[in-house]
């Protein structure tokens, strides 16, 4: 019989969560063949997150893992991030 899930074990470093959220999003679409090209200029994300300050004072987080919150889940915090689109990763 398997042990009950322990959600706090699957929290990931915040940097990984940010990469996971932005990674799959397309930055541009279309082109000469389509007759138009669209480029994203900014991205705003507003996410509820399970968060916990872990070893080494590192903030670890996860998107909520279910629609129904139980008393065993961490209280949800919130993250609001604004991204610009840049060329070549220049800060």
């Amino acid at each position: 019989m398997s042990a009950p899930p322990r959600p706090w074990l699957s929290l990931r470093p915040l940097a990984e969560v940010l990469s996971a959220v932005t990674g799959p999003l397309p930055l541009e679409a279309g082109g000469a063949a389509a007759g138009a090209r669209v480029t994203v200029s900014t991205l705003d994300v507003d996410l509820p997150l399970e968060m916990r300050i872990g070893d080494g004072a590192e903030l670890r987080a996860s998107l909520p893992r279910g629609r129904m919150a139980t008393g065993f889940d961490l209280p949800l915090g919130r993250l609001v991030a604004h991204f610009d689109v840049t060329e070549g990763g220049v800060r």
Partner: protein, 255 residues
């Protein structure tokens, strides 16, 4: 039930903020890497970040403000609202002291064999942006102890270890007139008297010597020299176990 749930620890607020900014730096580095690692010309750049965290704010015995994450079903937690924005490189350079370039000693702090820093000190230095020996040398151990709590003696031990001569690698090169030479890479390779070099136990002529490299006459065209021994600053130094790489095939010397 759920006896395995870990007890949330408290962390000083400044440690948390340092760790958070280091994490955001890493996130941005990962985004930039996607551009260099793929053919995508564009990437995301994090500009602003707001966080609402459920924490308990406590004051430790020594008066330090500590943060502890709220656990499940814990009532009475505070909401810590953090608002972070990007500080550009010119702003950082304008408002803080700058480290010198890495030309002096680019070794990672992890490469220091003796006087190794413990994980806690290493992490705090990472928050400071200190990752190389060169950057470590720029620090004032007393000031770092006061601000970050890293014992000055530990830093001084690491600095003493970093000051020792070290051979990082060697390679065959060829002079303009076709002579076979060996270039030895390292740090702190000269100091006072001229260094003496032995290749495979035989003394060889040192043609050029700087703190970062030595250029010596090779034993033969295709003989990089087996074991490299450098005698400098009263110490015998050898290339240890492949650290920094062994000899590479001959190529044109660019002295």
């Amino acid at each position: 039930m759920n006896g395995a749930r870990p007890q949330n620890r408290s962390f000083p607020v400044e440690e948390f903020l340092q760790a958070l900014t280091a994490q955001l730096d890493r996130a941005q580095d990962a985004l930039a890497l996607k551009v260099s690692g793929t053919n995508r010309p564009l990437t995301w750049a994090l500009r602003d970040l707001k966080l609402d965290l459920n924490v308990f704010v406590e004051v430790g015995d020594n008066g330090r403000v500590m943060l502890r994450s709220a656990g499940p079903n814990e009532a009475g937690a505070s909401t810590l609202h953090l608002d972070l924005t990007t500080v550009t490189r010119p702003m950082v350079e304008e408002n803080s002291w700058s480290f010198q370039g890495d030309d002096d000693d680019p070794r990672s702090l992890d490469d220091l064999q003796v006087g190794k820093l413990d994980d806690d000190s290493r992490r705090k230095l990472d928050w400071l942006g200190v990752r190389t020996v060169s950057q470590l040398k720029q620090l004032d151990p007393g000031a770092v102890q006061q601000v970050f709590g890293i014992p000055a003696m530990r830093l001084q031990a690491a600095l003493a270890a970093a000051a020792r001569p070290t051979v990082l690698g060697h390679e065959m090169v060829e002079s303009d007139d076709g002579e076979a030479l060996v270039r030895i890479r390292g740090v702190n390779l000269i100091g006072g008297a001229a260094p003496e070099v032995h290749l495979d136990g035989q003394p060889v002529e040192v043609l050029e010597a700087t703190p970062r490299h030595l250029l010596v006459r090779a034993l033969g065209k295709d003989q990089p020299g087996g074991e490299v021994e450098v005698f400098t600053r009263g110490q015998r130094v050898t290339l240890n176990g492949g650290g920094g790489g062994g000899p590479t095939p001959p190529r044109s010397a660019a002295r």
